[in-house]
């Protein structure tokens, strides 16, 4: 009865049209602990594409992702998610629209893997979509390749396994905007590719995917668009082929790099000059 009542009060999301604006930052400026971490950031995230955020350590990638998630309050400018200012959404309604993978996966109590993935379904409790819970959990565990240890305790997993369980939880949430903070950091080669393939699949299904990456090779191969952050600003933004300019990257990373095209696929490969 209580859940029925709540479900009626919540505004459920409608499936976004391909190319619709899922989230955007306008003249965004964020200060954290007295330091300006982001300034004059303009960024549009559209449904159906994978957008990679790259840049050196401390450039503001994670902060931008957190701002797009509605975690931070802007000093000036604004972030809109699904057409509404991020701060105007109640937590319960925002959870139906965007899912966030944090940089590190922690858990205070030893829940089993399947229980952790099922937590991703919590926002839908009391809605019609709750009927798809089992199916969503199963599909998410299969996609992240964690079904093999579904019954094990999260506390007993390795770092890479935990990262994949966290990803499965985020996938199970089935939000139209996916924000992933370094999902590949703890993963082996095979699972890095797996995660980015999953991102592509979600984009093809109409979701908007924003992903913080350190590996420019992965960004070049899988992202539709890349935004290069440098000292809290967006230094360049566009398709990888255009953004991966040796001069720009050398300057941003303070490290001379070469960009060569892959002999077979033609994807841009970024290699430090040694």
């Amino acid at each position: 009865m209580r859940s029925l009542f709540r479900a009626r009060a919540r505004r459920l999301p409608t499936a976004p049209a391909l190319g619709a604006v899922a989230a955007e930052a306008r003249a965004l400026r964020v200060r954290l602990a007295g330091r300006t971490v982001l300034s004059e950031v303009d960024l549009t995230v559209t449904a159906g594409e994978v957008l990679a955020l790259v840049g050196p350590n401390g450039a503001g990638k994670s902060t931008l992702l957190a701002a797009l998630a509605g975690d931070l309050t802007a000093e000036s400018g604004e972030v809109r998610i699904d057409g509404r200012p991020a701060g105007a959404w109640p937590a319960a309604e925002l959870a139906l629209r965007r899912a966030v993978l944090p940089q590190s996966a922690e858990l205070s109590f030893p829940f089993a893997v399947e229980e952790v993935v099922r937590m991703g379904r919590a926002p839908w409790a009391g809605t019609a979509a709750a009927e798809a819970d089992d199916e969503a959990v199963r599909a998410a565990m299969a996609a992240a390749e964690v079904a093999g240890f579904a019954g094990r305790s999260f506390a007993a997993l390795s770092g890479g396994e935990r990262a994949r369980v966290a990803l499965a939880r985020v996938l199970a949430q089935r939000a139209a905007l996916l924000l992933l903070d370094e999902p590949t950091a703890a993963l082996d080669l095979r699972h890095q590719e797996l995660v980015l393939r999953v991102c592509r699949e979600r984009a093809a299904a109409g979701d908007a995917v924003v992903i913080v990456l350190h590996d420019l090779g992965l960004a070049g191969a899988y992202a539709d668009r890349v935004a290069v952050l440098h000292e809290g600003r967006i230094a360049a933004e566009g398709p990888p082929g255009r953004v991966f300019d040796p001069e720009l990257l050398s300057r941003v990373y303070s490290q001379p790099v070469e960009v060569i095209d892959h002999p077979r696929t033609g994807e841009p490969l970024v290699i430090p000059r040694r």
Partner: protein
């Protein structure tokens, strides 16, 4: 008693590797296990309550206890003789009911506290909230306050408990997390400060009041009466009724504050609500029984090992388990040293403290040190 269960993590049923229908068998298995455990807890609780009602300095056979119950309910049975009837209804039963309420409140408060702090070592006694509530109660007695009649001590305990929870909460958090060391150290400081205030209360009080206050410091149910039951009933029932509604949200909170918010939990509101509920439950328990530690630590931990960490079972389960432990402990307190009576708080601390050592070491090992 549930304490005797073998330690170590309960084996989690392994799901078929890579099978098509994921791990729903694991979930079903766990569901069956919690149902079974709930039934066992309720059965054990009823049995312990009946035993406690009948057993003591004046023994009343179980059959006669049941008979007297049935008679009062108008379902046949028979009354006991005058002494028996008086012992059962005026002495034993208020005590058993009070043990039930206090135990349920402490167990439930422990489970909530651990969920809110995301830390298995959080407990109202350990982190100083029980002692903080005791300050309120002692102040009410020592200053001879009576502005709310029967409820004065409870209300004062609640107010002081609430202030303490908020203080501990504010002092032990930094950057959205509660570190174990900070929490325990804050608890030590809080216990020391509250202990000093209680001492001050003893200093101010006259000798009759001192006797009354000493009872708080040891923790006991010996002075149970029906009016005392009535004094805590609203607090305890309100807290126990509200707590299970937050099971699912507490599960999400285990992921951390931000991820919980990403899943739609209004974390700040959840925290404040539950801190209030914890203060309510702790105050209810402390106002009538004094400081009884470790029940809220031990019960949720044992249940977590037996049925997993899901709060939808853990919160109501800990209330049941806490009630069982306290009814049993009170029975032991009044019978092991007959005709004398052990203070209940001393008994639970005797059993609970070694357990706390084990828990500390285990948490330390898991974290790889405190630093």
């Amino acid at each position: 008693m549930s304490l005797l269960k073998s330690p170590g993590r309960a084996p989690v049923p392994g799901a078929p590797a890579g099978s098509a229908d994921g791990a729903s068998p694991a979930a079903r298995h766990r569901g069956r296990r919690t149902a079974l455990l709930t039934a066992a807890l309720i059965a054990a609780l009823l049995f312990a309550a009946l035993l406690s009602a009948g057993y003591g300095a004046y023994d009343i056979p179980l059959g006669d206890v049941l008979g007297s119950f049935l008679h009062r309910l108008g379902l046949g049975g028979a009354t006991l003789d005058r002494v028996g009837e008086s012992v059962l209804w005026d002495v034993r039963l208020p005590r058993v009911v009070l043990a039930l309420l206090v135990g349920a409140s402490l167990g439930c408060a422990g489970a909530l506290m651990q969920g809110v702090f995301g830390n298995p070592l959080a407990e109202p006694g350990v982190i100083g909230i029980s002692m903080g509530s005791a300050v309120g109660a002692v102040a009410a007695i020592a200053l001879g306050m009576n502005f709310l009649g029967n409820w004065t001590v409870t209300v004062c305990a609640f107010a002081a408990g609430l202030v303490t929870v908020l203080l501990v909460y504010a002092l032990s958090r930094s950057g959205g997390r509660t570190e174990v060391v900070t929490l325990i150290l804050t608890g030590i400081a809080m216990n020391a400060f509250a202990g000093a205030l209680v001492g001050l209360g003893v200093f101010v009080a006259d000798s009759a009041q001192v006797t009354q206050i000493t009872f708080w410091q040891l923790g006991s149910l010996a002075q149970a009466t029906w009016p005392k039951v009535l004094a805590v009933l609203p607090c305890a029932l309100l807290g126990l009724a509200v707590a299970p509604l937050y099971g699912r949200k507490l599960d999400l909170l285990a992921l951390g504050e931000r991820p919980a918010r990403h899943l739609g939990v209004d974390v700040e509101r959840l925290r404040m609500t539950l801190v209030l509920v914890v203060a309510l439950l702790t105050a209810a328990a402390v106002a009538v029984s004094g400081v009884i530690t470790f029940v809220g630590l031990l019960v949720p931990h044992v249940l977590r090992m037996a049925a997993g960490p899901g709060h939808r079972f853990l919160v109501p389960g800990s209330a049941l388990g806490g009630a069982l432990v306290l009814v049993a402990a009170d029975l032991a307190a009044r019978t092991v040293a007959q005709p004398a009576e052990l203070p209940l708080g001393v008994l639970t601390a005797l059993v609970g403290s070694p357990f706390f050592f084990v828990l500390l070491r285990r948490t330390r090992r898991k974290q790889g040190g405190w630093a």
